[in-house]
């Protein structure tokens, strides 16, 4: 019987190691877990989004005024600088005047980090490389054959694949590698916020709820012990 159990255990361990690849052509995505409590990071992320993403990708589930409140942006900056379509009210969703279905097939990004995960997006944004076989002129290691052009090339500089399939820089961008990585973290943080604005309150207030129940349990345990004495 023991032997059988051990065999089973080994078998399950083996089947676990034969895991599947969920980072495209990469073995593993780069580790990153988003933080929605860093206000400045969220604001910088919004800046990158507005400059590099918003012309193709809508955020149709997020409202301008929610963004304004959560990211502590003065209202006039939102209405004058960020909302660029004339008929958009501050309570409207961030569609940037785009039609419901994007004519170029760019997906809405509101829930993207929840579908793909932080690590996937973070790695995806940083692994574009030059590929003349692609219509857009670039390809991606995480999402092989992606139709999205490398819009971040100005920041990151261009990359290409060497003989071993590793990324090498072939031109410099306006940011250093560290600066670019940090910007992409800001962007993913912002996207994670957009995917779940309530996460800010959720993670802040959860501690108090749990503390309450720790006290509750302690008090109830004392009460229970009083009754348990009578049972002896």
């Amino acid at each position: 019987m023991k032997k059988l159990l051990i065999t089973l255990l080994i078998f399950s361990a083996y089947s676990y190691s034969a895991g599947e690849n969920d980072c495209g052509s990469l073995e593993k995505c780069d580790a990153f877990s988003s933080d929605v409590h860093d206000l400045y990071s969220l604001q910088r992320g919004l800046g990158i989004y507005m400059n590099y993403c918003a012309s193709c990708h809508s955020l149709k589930l997020l409202r301008w005024n929610r963004l304004q409140k959560d990211l502590v942006i003065p209202e006039n900056i939102v209405t004058e600088e960020l909302i660029r379509t004339s008929d958009t009210k501050i309570a409207d969703h961030m569609t940037f005047g785009m039609p419901e279905i994007s004519p170029i097939g760019a997906p809405d990004l509101t829930l993207r980090t929840r579908v793909r995960g932080d690590e996937w997006i973070y790695t995806y944004l940083r692994t574009f490389y030059e590929d003349p076989l692609q219509t857009s002129g670039s390809n991606n290691l995480v999402y092989v054959g992606t139709s999205m052009p490398n819009v971040l090339v100005g920041l990151q500089g261009n990359q290409a694949l060497d003989k071993d399939g590793k990324l090498v820089k072939i031109s410099e961008g306006s940011l250093t590698k560290e600066e670019f990585d940090r910007s992409m973290k800001d962007l993913v943080n912002f996207l994670a916020y957009a995917a779940e604005p309530a996460r800010i309150t959720r993670e802040k207030n959860g501690v108090f709820v749990i503390l309450f129940f720790i006290v509750f349990t302690a008090v109830m345990n004392l009460l229970y012990r009083e009754y348990a004495k009578e049972l002896k």
Partner: protein
Amino acid sequence: MASEKSTVMGWIDRRLPVTENLERHLTKHPVPKKVNFFYLFGALLMVVFMIQVVTGIWLMMFYTNTEEGAFASVEYIMRDVEYGWLMRYMHSTGASAFFFLMYFHMFRGLLYGSYQKPKELVWLFGCFLLFLLMAEGFLGYVLPWGQMSYWAANVILSLFGAIPFIGPDLQVWIQGDFVLSGITLSRFFALHVVVVPLLMIALVVFHIFALHEVGAGNPEGVDIEKYRDEKGMPLDGAPFHPYKTFGALPAIGIFFIVFFAIVFFAPTGGGYFIEKPNFEEANFLKTPEHIAPVWYYAPFYSILRAVTFGIPFLGITSKFLGFIVFAASIAILFVVPWLDRSNVQSIRYKGIYSKIAMVLFAASFITLGYLGTKPVNELRTLIAQICTVLYFAPFLLMPIYTKYEKTLKVPDRL
């Protein structure tokens, strides 16, 4: 007797037996003094049931049960409804908690013989509740109308389509359409919020009334009714209220700590409680690469997938046979009271074969659960097949080993 008094309570009692029933089911209902933590899951299940009902009502106020509106209305609840996110996460985490507690509650029943004579009906009602809970969870999972809602529902509904002769028509009848559509969604909504919960409430009442008729068990399998004091209270028993009600409160507190830790800090449970593809709206043109059930169905889904062969000369496809085995894996629980021929209740006094059987059953259930969340490959299918056999063997062989194995003598008192 309260009913003879000229008080308000007496007035009511002469018309409605409130005091009598409070005494019968709470303040004078005897329960064993000494039980272990396994006996707390019933109380916790009641708590979760209430969480599900209350949060469910609130979600229903804002949810739209149409193909066009369902997905957006869930995000509306998550963003624009005050504390809507809390209601939604409590409901989704509550579903996982419900199954987690239910599995432990039933395993307790198996360990300590909580199905043996005269508790057969208590066990049967409980098995029906598991079946209803599985239906309820499935129906509810379709409602957010995400990719996984849609495609997992497709997988399950196609099982009905695999039944010979009537299958395809049956599937269309259940769906209400030739494909899974908004029509299916709105009928699933009706079933999820009205029909199944009503049945569950009725069965919970039956479950508890039947339990109070035959008395609660204990880990020793001792009959506490044997020795009573002069007032008729069993010597090893104590009134349910206040002793057990207050006994359950610390457990409820601990449960809430874990429950809210998940709700506030890991509501998606790493993709096991709310799956990633479900944040993408259902799209009937795009099948996800890997369709996985939520963790609580995974063991049964594994059993379903483990059957890779049919019986061609009887016209039974592997899919249909898988469906039969899958249904049997739940149905077999219903007949456990009649499979166990042991003269003792508790695993503590049963023989070595019963103990091995329980370990094998638990190990296979967990392994099947793990495999159910992973894509198939040959090795995993083989392990799932072995585990399926190991899942059924403890039950199928139960009449033999419980009859012939050597049991220990059960003490008289707790």
